[in-house]
């Protein structure tokens, strides 16, 4: 198990190093994800222990946003007089973005023959 945890850290490390060296506008961990994905594609299967380790990390993914989320307390004052404008913009824009993206994706996926039956 430890070996796959190390592998995950290693992928992130390579990703971070690459971003630091090239200034690419992508976070290191996202590049690490691409790297791990490439590794899995070459291997052709998911090692059982890797599945366990990644499953443990991902099953608590939303917990990991709590420390950064709590940081809201420090920066709320930055909104200055724009609190209402920003709140309205965030709620409408976020809900509409999710609806529009979902509709677009669903419409385009359904057009393909053969993918209709297992869509739901």
């Amino acid at each position: 198990m430890l070996n796959y945890l190390t592998l995950i850290f290693f992928c992130q490390l390579v990703g971070e190093a690459f971003v630091a060296a090239t200034g690419l506008p992508v976070p290191g961990p996202v590049l690490g994800m691409v790297l791990l994905f490439a590794g899995l594609s070459i291997r052709g299967s998911i090692p059982k222990d890797l599945d366990t380790v990644s499953g443990a990390l991902l099953s608590n993914l939303s917990l990991l946003f709590v420390p950064a989320g709590t940081g809201i307390m420090v920066h709320l004052s930055l909104l200055a007089g724009d609190g209402i404008a920003v709140s309205v913009a965030l709620v409408i824009s976020t809900m509409a973005t999710i609806a529009v993206t979902g509709l677009m994706m669903q419409a385009l996926t359904r057009k393909k023959p053969g993918s209709v039956d297992d869509a739901e």
Binding site: P29, L40, F65, L76, A89, T101, S115
Partner: protein, 243 residues
Amino acid sequence: MPNELQSELQDVWVYLSASPLLHLTMTLAAYQAGMWIYKRGGMNPLLNPVLFAVVMLVAILMLTGTSYETFFEGAQFVHFLLGPATVSLAVPLYRQFHRVRESALAIAVSLFTGSAFAATSAMGISWLLGASHRTIISIGPKSVTAPVAMGISDSLGGLPSLTAVLVIATGILGAALGPLALNLAGVKDWAARGFAMGTGAHGIGTARALQVNEVAGAFAGLAMGLNALATAILLPLAWAIFR
């Protein structure tokens, strides 16, 4: 009155509040309390556990006069795992990749639409409501994962720390209200639902998608990564042309 006991308790509190263990434990406990309510409520997205935990923790920190820096000394151990967890998204993505490959064109078009819509709608609405120039720029990359969003904001002349707050708020709002928006729009396909959550609400939306369905989770993780890249390239370009 046992003054001695009181001062002893005071000493214990001073000792504990200086140790990272207190705030690490608090973070885990607040989240688990939120998770308990979330599960009791049939995973209703409005009962989002991140939202609950953040509200609880902010309240406790303010009541006890604890600074965020002190809190973060303990909470950083949880925060640190965010990177490895992001790398781990490769596993569900690999498992669902046959579906991803089938819908490559749909993904490209939806990504472009979602990325452009997220930025223009947020900037447009805040502009209409009279927000300051700095706020309008800072809200542009709000649907993108925090480190990238802060970089984009900085390059456009926004305020990265304000962007970080808006990104987190977007993630929580998206996780709580996104499923409702998808239901209203009649989006039933799991891949489309996940892709929309990852595009509109980055990692926090992805976390919600993963809790509900693995296909949705895989597409959400993919969308989060792609949207970071797309917005980082498109938004500064669009800004240079249309400003």
